[in-house]
């Protein structure tokens, strides 16, 4: 009975709040939503019309049945996972140290993290190929330390993960830095130190768990970039999902639309996950 009343009051409050929004705000909101939703609707509609006069999932079935799809998709997922892990290992201690001991370096580091927005991926990949297609030699000797990274599979994987780390840097660094801003990193560190904890324990047991929402959002953004990336993957000649989608789009009509729509859904699921996890942490950090 009481819950029914509460529900009614909540519904009335919501209606009252909606009524308070000005007319023109509604118009702009609807126009914005249409701008976003119409192409999506068109893609979804097109992807369902592979057979004449029939609405069905044939394009999806054919796209998913292609063994190349699964192979390239799994490979890109693996690259994304590696990129995320390597980024966390590199960026978390860096952002932590800058916040703790080198606040004066923050501007320089922020500038560096923004470079991927200015320097196109094509420059990056040519740079990587130019440098790492020759063997690593000790200077002034002929002693070879390493074969050219571009000449073997693992080497190429290392190169592409390094490249993706650069592309994901603005997102990952900013997410981690923002996450650290929400917790008092310095005092938590000092508290842990006074209790006898070393740097590794502090990062793993105190810092990482308290920035997990930030890490997750950075990781999901990196994931989205890596899975759809074409330039680095094409020029390094790896069987990734981005080039596969690109090739598919050149030869087929409906399957790329189906895969594009599926990737939209995947992104939405990812955003839902971010919301879920961020909401959970908001409560924890709110206490601080």
């Amino acid at each position: 009975m009481a819950s029914e009343k509460i529900r009614k009051v909540v519904a009335m409050n919501l209606l009252a709040r909606i009524r308070r929004i000005p007319f023109w705000s509604w118009i702009w909101f609807i126009l914005g939503a249409l701008y976003f939703l119409l192409p999506l609707y068109a893609t979804a509609n097109f992807s369902l019309r592979m057979e004449r006069d029939v609405i069905g999932f044939k394009a999806y079935i054919r796209a998913f049945e292609d063994p190349e799809f699964l192979k390239t998709f799994m490979y890109s997922n693996m690259l994304a996972l590696m990129t995320i892990l390597a980024s966390i290992v590199l960026i978390v201690p860096t952002a932590y140290w800058i916040r703790l001991r080198l606040p004066e370096a923050r501007r320089v580091v922020e500038f560096i993290t923004l470079l991927p927005f200015v320097v196109p991926a094509i420059i990056l990949v040519f740079g990587l190929i130019r440098i790492y297609s020759s063997p690593l030699v000790i200077p002034f000797t002929n002693i070879k330390l390493l074969q050219p990274l571009t000449t073997f599979e693992v080497g190429t994987d290392i190169l592409i993960v390094a490249g993706y780390m650069v592309l994901g840097l603005p997102y990952m660094y900013r997410s981690v830095d923002t996450g650290m801003r929400t917790v008092d990193v310095r005092t938590l560190t000092e508290a842990a130190q006074s209790l006898g904890a070393g740097w590794f324990t502090i990062i793993v047991k105190v810092i990482l768990p308290n920035i997990r929402a930030a890490l997750l959002s950075g990781a999901l953004l990196t994931f989205a970039i890596v899975v759809g990336e074409v330039t680095l993957a094409s020029f390094l000649g790896v069987p990734a999902f981005g080039p596969y989608l690109f090739l598919l789009g050149q030869h087929r009509a409906y399957e790329p639309a189906a895969l594009s729509f599926a990737s939209f859904l995947l992104t939405w699921v990812a955003m839902g996950l971010i919301q879920l996890f961020t909401g959970g942490q908001g409560e924890v950090s709110g206490a601080h």
């Binding site: 917790v183 008092d184 005092t187 938590l188 000092e190 508290a191 842990a192 130190q193 006074s194 209790l195 006898g196 904890a197 070393g198 324990t201 047991k205 105190v206 768990p209 308290n210 409560e283 924890v284 950090s285 709110g286 206490a287 601080h288």
Partner: protein, 353 residues
């Protein structure tokens, strides 16, 4: 034997000397407060004991062992922070047990110690709560338990009550003192609140601009301040410029009004400029003529402060505050009236100008 010793400790940040030649010996189980205004170097000194700052000069020892350059994690010093600094991702029990887990103690011993600490701070029922589910006072009690759980040689408290409201502050400070005495732990407490320092401490170090102004028991600091800063910072104080009249008998003159002081003035000469300090509560209306220091005073203002009534009087051309306990039958003089005011010889403190 001295438990904690700071010898000639200084800390310089660029051109700024935060702490200058700090010397202090603390006995085991003693509760010492560093008292002073913001920027006086009290927190920097505490942070040097904790290991978060390395002294530019000097030595810090605990039980004779030099810890000056040891990492904070190697010092076995517990610290309680103003902002609680509880780990938000851990429950109360996990927070308290964190230091013990870092030390790789047995799980059964950790559980036992955590239960013991929870009992001391009376938060047994909150063991599985997260920090955000606790009030400020509860969080600070957990922070205290966490710092004590590792059995530190010295407990450091950096303005632990500043973020709490007045009532909780008073009850928690009594709790801190009682726990410290029960465990017999050496504690260093940083505060800018004189009431906290006076009520908690065995000894107080009054600090100003990186220097130690005075070290003494709360009684000594309040009643016998040795510097103008100490006298002004601790408690309310009337102070005025004066001139020595007769060093042998302790007579001084404030704007022509003569006062007698119990302070030894034999090393001074007649005409020497000094600063005289009298606590407001040491002044009272003269009930009999025979008392020392009976002077005429004009009543200028009367302010009710709850338990105390503050009366502003003018003696000669100098204004003084006079405090008297409030009671319903108190007969207060009229504004503008001239009354006789007195204080004992001991109440007249003479400090260097």
């Amino acid at each position: 034997m001295t438990h904690l010793a700071l010898t000639n400790v200084s800390k310089v940040f660029g051109d700024f000397t935060a702490v200058n030649n700090f010397n202090l010996d603390v006995q085991k189980g003693e509760f010492v407060s560093f008292l002073g205004p913001s920027g006086c170097g009290k927190t920097t000194t505490l942070r040097m004991i904790a290991g978060f700052e390395i002294p530019s000069m000097g030595k810090i020892t605990i039980d004779g062992a030099d810890i000056t350059n040891k990492a904070p994690s190697q010092r076995n010093v517990g610290m309680v922070f103003q902002s609680y600094a509880l780990f938000p991702n851990m429950t109360v029990a996990q927070n308290i047990g964190f230091g013990l887990r870092v030390r790789k103690e047995k799980e059964s011993e950790i559980k036992e110690r955590v239960a013991e600490m929870l009992a001391i701070i009376n938060l047994e029922k909150k063991a599985d709560s997260y920090p955000y589910q606790l009030s400020g006072g509860q969080m600070q009690r957990v922070a205290l338990a966490r710092a004590l759980a590792i059995r530190p040689q010295v407990l450091l408290l950096d303005e632990p009550l500043s973020a709490l409201d007045a009532k909780i502050r008073v009850s928690l400070r009594a709790e801190i003192r009682s726990i410290q005495q029960k465990l017999g732990i050496t504690a260093i407490y940083v505060t800018h609140d004189q009431e906290e320092a006076l009520s908690l401490s065995d000894r107080i170090v009054v600090m100003n601009m990186g220097e130690m102004e005075q070290v003494g028991t709360p009684f000594e600091i309040y009643n016998f301040p040795t510097t103008v800063f100490s006298a002004n910072f601790v408690g309310t104080l009337n102070n005025a410029s004066a001139e020595v009249v007769d060093p042998a008998s302790g007579f001084i003159s404030i704007d022509g009004v003569q006062f007698e002081s119990a302070v030894d003035l034999t090393e001074r000469k007649p005409g020497d400029k000094v600063r005289v300090a009298i606590r407001p509560e040491r002044l009272s209306f003269a009930s009999e003529q025979k008392k020392a220091n009976v002077v005429d005073a004009t009543i200028e203002n009367i302010t009710f402060l709850g338990s105390v009534v503050r009366i502003r009087v003018k003696i000669g051309s100098t204004k003084f505050n006079m405090d008297t306990f409030n009671n319903p039958f108190l007969e207060l003089p009229k504004i503008g009236a001239v009354e006789q005011v007195t204080c004992s010889r001991e109440a007249v403190l003479v400090l260097d100008e």
